[in-house]
Amino acid sequence: MNEPLVELKNVSFKYDAEAGYALHKVSFTIFKGEWLAIVGHNGSGKSTLAKLLNGLHFPLEGCITVGGIQLSEDTVWETRKKIGMVFQNPDNQFVGTTVRDDVAFGLENHGIERDDMVQRVTHSLEKVKMAQFLNQEPHHLSGGQKQRVAIAGVIALRPDIIILDESTSMLDPRGREEVLETVRELKQDYNMTVISITHDLEEAAKADRIVVMNKGQLYREGTPEEIFQMDEELVNLGLDIPFPVKLSKMLREKGLPLSRHYLSEEELVEELWTSHSKM
């Protein structure tokens, strides 16, 4: 858990020479096997960060190392093999005409032998529970299903890291839960590192660690408990505190003896219905 996998050192980036910094002197480390959430308001630089990690852009200053390899134009194909990415819009990342073709797309790009490819396609679709949709066309699938296919396309390549770039923001609650549940299972099975970029703090609450971004700079980094202590500050950053955290805080203000901040609804419900018997 404490083995560093991705390291950012003083990373700065501008989209346009005249424009301001999209990222300014950002440094942090991502450890092997952790679930790291990067949160921030629109324009905080969190999506830029994702694109830098996958070598879609290169830092202006500073350096990024992925698994010991420094990211540059020469090593980008090497590091891209280690990192899989799932984007926001389910439609605009579906390349194949059918589910199986789409999963195979990444494998084709990496020149995997066909026999191996067929096996990996079925295996990864089983993993995301989409095996029965093998020959389905994308316009017959729901958003959540399309995202699961995108995840299958990523895990077929057996990466060490999976980046979810706002992958659940266009989905309905059920689709969101489906996708997150799938990622959670895969993380366990493959001991993958998950970097989830989101503005949904409820999603971030389930992460191991949270990095808060603001105006292109790293604002704070810590465990969800630590981050949610900030409450008012988070609201000022344009982030919405999860409902259970808000509720437990308000209940405490009303004088209810709740012991700590609750990050999930289940925990809070558990505490509330047992609290009376303790009194």
Partner: protein, 265 residues
Amino acid sequence: MMDKMIFGRYVPAESVIHRMDPRSKLVLIFLFVCIVFLANNMLTYGLLTVYTFFMIALSKVPVRFIYTGLKPVLLLVIFTLFLHLFLTKEGEELFRFGWITIYEEGLRQGIFISLRFFLLILMTSILTLTTTPIEITDGLESLLDPLNKIKFPVHELALMMSISLRFIPTLMQETDKIMKAQTARGVDFTSGPIKERIKAIIPLLIPLFVSSFKRAEELAVAMEARGYRGGEGRTKYRQLSWGLKDTAMLAMLAAVTLVLILLRT
């Protein structure tokens, strides 16, 4: 509804023709288009007609699908027939009614040429009715492979075709959505003079274009993130397999060609 216009063409069924390699189907159709011009008498046209109907029977595609495919071109076939009927003035006079005179040669030419037209359309619709667009793309990519040597971007072309095919339904859905959104804002797409209706298309097209460009850009980023860097060193998931039936079908066509050459006058 518009969905059916493009995709309703393919009729899934279990037949020899469906299971043929798209390459052999493409070659077959291409050769057929050439040999149709060999026919020049009753016997040869008869043979071609029998061959075409034999292929239709093999394809197991219900006749009504073939008929719906033919409907738009049928008018053109009939027009060709009448054009020859009235304008060719050779051979014996057969019939005279007022200013219309029909000659033997006109009748012959009319029937032959419209029949030729008819057979060509039938054969090509067998191709599109039994082959999915993506199979046709794969077939073309494989057939055009030699052109790679002269730096013709075959792979890119095939990828472009398959991505277009994949996005047609998505864009159709989007068009539908934009249309509803604009209707809700008072745009009238269905009534009024033609000029007004053409004008009404503009608020439909502009958002569609804008979103298509956005999609294209996002897709390009996603493709790159998934390791796409052109056709080199790429393996293929979908595979074509040339079987005995493909060779047999081409052999049959060769036999038909031979008989055509012997029978033509």
